[in-house]
């Protein structure tokens, strides 16, 4: 029986803290490698940041002055070390395009994408988990088949197509929701919710499919376990068997998956934010790459890498917390 083998340790688990500390230490070199990689890959990109920014106005004297100002003539290693030194002292540099500090830009955009991520995850869970359970319980029936069709469509319909179609239907035809844009929830919560509804639905449907598939297979695994048969033999109602006994145990891999899916959400946000013109993290990085705004790309990628590592850590910790058997493995 899960959960019965070990007494619960309510005063904090020292081995857990050590585990977390270890993971953070391991993460530091990873971040360093990421930063070196991104820095060098950017330098390999054709195109000159100053020229990209200049657009039509390519007065050679001005370009030279800007190159000098942003130290773009220095050797690669010098540029990298200057950037790294800045980061270690909390200075991520300024955007070549707008002159805004990178950290300030990240501070402005990250909350927007986090809001989008949470609302999308809400949709993903709302659709994915119930359909997954239903598909497992009604395995082989029309309902299972229907849930699979929904899941597959969610995976195969491209975000940009669904996004544009929703805009045309919901905003242009019906006039129910704003077609694009963003409002902070602190300024106008209702409008903020309205503007985020379509994007988070679009982003959430793709993830819902993954969640549904995983929930379904986890449930199927659990439903054939001995203790479920026991529970049924005891005469428990099928609702109770499914929700209390089966689902709880099937939840474990789903939770880990959910934490990891947040990473995927960031990737999906890049496209979704472009379609719905949401001034978030994804839009920030796309615009920065096209403008060769090196400092912004560097800062954003580093931040994203940190986010990924953090979510991995959270997944690990959750796993341990939910599955006491894992604790001995520490």
């Amino acid at each position: 029986m899960p959960g019965a083998a070990h007494p619960r340790d309510n005063q904090g688990n020292p081995s857990m803290l050590i585990h977390i500390a270890k993971r953070i230490l391991v993460a530091l070199p990873t971040l360093l490698i990421v930063s070196v990689l991104v820095f060098s890959l950017q330098k390999l990109l054709p195109g000159d940041p100053v020229l990209a920014l200049a657009g039509e106005e390519r007065d050679p004297a001005t370009l030279a002055a800007l190159r000098e100002k942003y130290h773009l003539n220095d050797p690669f290693l010098m540029q990298y070390l200057r950037w790294l030194g800045g980061v270690l002292t909390g200075d991520f540099g300024v955007s070549l395009r707008t002159g805004q500090p990178v950290l300030e830009l990240i501070g402005q955009k990250l909350p927007v994408t986090i809001q989008l991520a949470f609302m999308s995850m809400f949709f993903a869970l709302l659709i994915g988990i119930p359909t997954g359970i239903l598909a497992a319980v009604k395995k082989g029936t029309v309902l299972d088949w229907l849930a699979n069709v929904i899941a597959l469509s969610g995976l195969s319909i491209p975000n940009f197509w669904l996004g544009i179609m929703l805009i045309l239907l919901v905003s242009v035809q019906l006039g129910w929701l704003p077609a694009s844009g963003y409002e902070s929830p602190f300024v106008d919560p209702l409008r903020s919710f309205q503007t985020m509804l379509m994007p988070s639905f679009v982003l959430g449907t793709g993830l819902a499919a993954t969640l549904m598939r995983h929930t379904r297979s986890a449930m199927l695994g659990v439903l054939s376990a001995d203790y479920i048969r026991t529970a049924r033999a005891k005469g428990l109602g099928s609702r109770e068997v499914i929700m209390t006994h089966a689902f709880r145990n099937a939840l474990l891999p789903v939770i880990t998956l959910t934490a990891l899916l947040f990473g995927e959400l960031l990737a999906g946000a890049v496209l979704t934010e472009q379609i719905f013109t949401i001034p978030g993290f994804g839009k920030l990085i796309v615009d920065a790459v096209f403008n060769r705004d090196y400092a912004v790309v560097q800062g954003v990628v580093l931040c994203t890498a940190m986010g990924f590592l953090l979510m991995n850590l959270v997944a690990d910790v959750l796993y341990v917390l939910l599955n006491p058997r894992m604790r001995t493995a520490l």
Binding site: L45, P46, G47, D48, L51, A52, L53, A54, G55, E56, E57, R58, D59, P60, A61, T62, A65, L66, K69, R97, T98, G99, Q100, L105, Q108, K109, I164, I167, L168, S171, V172, G175, P178, A179, S180, G181, Y182, E183, S184, F186, V187, D188, Q274, I275, F276, T277, P279, K283, L284, D287, F290, N291, R292
Partner: protein, 502 residues
């Protein structure tokens, strides 16, 4: 500070929740503006925002004639070396600083000397500027420059509050303070720029909008969807494929104006090793390429008839267009004859272009048109930043790019085709052209200038370092309730006299 902004924004939001925002105008722009400092900025959409925010010494009218704005009148000395301008009385900046001769002197000096300034080449003919009266400034020029006044109709002629500019230095763009009809409220990058009516504007009676919000929405479909759903009141640069839809929509109206710029193919004549190819080396082959293109068909197929076919740096609608060189009809036989004369039958050539759908389609049409005359064009769709650097570095045989255009003819020619021209990527050099264009710059006599540009145009049409294809049209879509708006050839959105009936 942030909390304060949030609170005031919240209060504002609460007020606006009631549909009392009757005179709020929401405008969809194609991109986000860059830094909001007229001396440092370089984007087209930035200029649209400045049209509301920052007044200039002089402005353009619908026929691209120069008209007064902050300067009420001006005179050029007979030798062309002095330009005296009288300034409007009673103008104040958004921070209350009065606009006087000293403020103008400070601004021109700043544009010429700020290390980050991108206006230096535009003002390169200026030796110095002095205040010659409380409301009079005098420019002293190094050499006569007929294009200077036109430069002052754009960012080089925008006057910032010296108080604010001195205090914020190169960071002026974070809180720009000028003297235009609207003052800066807030900016959230990639999201919106908000301006509100400036009560002390000298011409305040003609400003009928209380608040303007500029929203960057790069996707043309989404921009139009926002207009249709009523989220936006006006959008700029409606895609050619959407123009018919806007015209048919009973709730929308549209306005358009042929732009000042051009679409063209640049041929590498002498920019490094890659110029060593038949097209780069023989003008007859370039002429053949040009003759093989059906420019009007391009306009119909790619731009659904919204653009203008063209063969010069000036559109056929411009007074500077050389009527002796009409837009040529396609002539495949003549093109083949030119190739034969050059001693070649088929020519293989690489052509790079920006990788967006419209340009790609345009190039594919051209590829198949010129194939019939004997050109095997290999198209290279290139991401825009890369295209620019390849074009500058000479790593191209033919390169397709656009020029947004300048009000003065000098701005569409001199820097592209003179031997030392700053953006002469083909590295074309013909002393005869240099002489004509320098002479045209040195006189303000329109008839003489026209004659010089016609003569230079004839040479360029023969040497053909740049193959002109046509001219973009600026199409604005707007809600039916918007009245008083007029599209100008410079593509700017002028908000004086504009009303919103909703």
């Amino acid at each position: 500070m942030i909390t304060k902004t949030l609170l005031s924004a919240a209060a504002l939001g609460a007020l606006l929740a009631i549909p009392a925002s009757a005179s709020e105008l929401r405008i969809g722009l194609q991109d986000d503006a860059d830094v909001l400092d007229p001396h440092q900025s370089r984007t087209f959409v930035g200029r649209i925002v400045y049209t509301g925010l920052c007044d200039k010494l002089v402005d353009l009218d619908k026929d691209v004639k120069i008209v007064p704005q902050l300067a009420t009148d001006w005179t050029t000395s007979d030798d062309g070396l002095k330009l005296v301008m009288n300034l409007r009385d009673g103008v104040v900046f958004h921070d209350g600083t009065p606009l006087d001769a000293e403020a103008v002197v400070y601004n021109i000096d700043r544009a010429m000397t700020l290390p980050e300034s991108r206006r230096k080449s535009e003002l390169s003919s200026v030796e110095k500027i002095e205040a010659t009266g409380p409301l009079q400034v005098t420019f002293t020029l190094k050499a006569p420059d007929a294009s200077l006044l036109a430069q002052l109709t754009d960012r080089a002629g925008m006057i910032l509050s010296p108080t604010a500019a001195k205090a914020s230095g190169a960071d002026f763009g974070a809180n720009p303070i000028c003297s235009g009809p609207f003052k800066f409220v807030e900016r959230i990058s990639q999201d919106r720029i908000v301006l509100e009516k400036f009560a002390d504007y000298y011409d305040a009676d003609r400003v009928k909008i209380d608040r303007v919000v500029y929203l960057p929405i790069p996707d043309t479909t989404v921009r139009l969807a926002n207009l249709r759903s009523g989220e936006l009141d006006m959008i700029e640069r409606v895609a050619a494929s959407d123009v018919a839809g806007v015209r048919e929509d009973a709730n929308l109206t549209s306005q358009e104006s042929v732009g000042l710029g051009y679409m063209a193919i640049y041929v590498n004549i002498k920019n490094g090793d890659r110029a060593a190819n038949p097209v780069g080396q023989d003008a007859r082959i370039r002429q053949a390429f040009s003759l093989a293109i059906d420019r009007e068909a391009l306009n119909q197929v790619v731009f659904e008839g919204t653009a203008r076919a063209g063969n010069q740096p000036f559109a056929p609608t411009s007074p500077w267009f050389n009527a002796a060189l009409p837009v040529p009809a396609r002539d495949v036989e003549a093109a083949k004859a030119l190739l034969a004369e050059a001693g070649v039958e088929r020519v293989s050539i690489e052509l790079q272009h920006a990788n967006n759908p419209v340009v790609t389609q345009m190039m594919q049409v051209i590829q198949s048109m010129v194939a019939e005359a004997g050109f095997d064009v290999s198209l290279q769709a290139t991401e825009f930043a890369t295209l620019l650097s390849e074009q500058t570095a000479g790593n191209f045989q033919m390169s397709r790019s656009d020029w947004s255009g300048r009000p003065d003819p000098d701005g569409n020619l001199h820097q592209f085709v003179t031997c030392e021209g700053g953006i002469n990527d083909p590295k074309y050099c013909n002393p005869e052209v240099d002489t004509l264009l320098n002479e045209a710059r040195a006189t303000s006599d329109v008839a003489i200038r026209k004659q010089k540009y016609d003569a230079a145009g004839a040479i360029l049409n023969r040497d053909m370092p740049i193959i002109y294809l046509g001219h973009q049209t600026y199409v604005f879509g707007m809600d039916k309730g918007i009245e008083g708006f007029q599209a100008y050839p410079d593509g700017m959105i002028r908000l004086k006299d504009v009303t919103d009936a909703d």
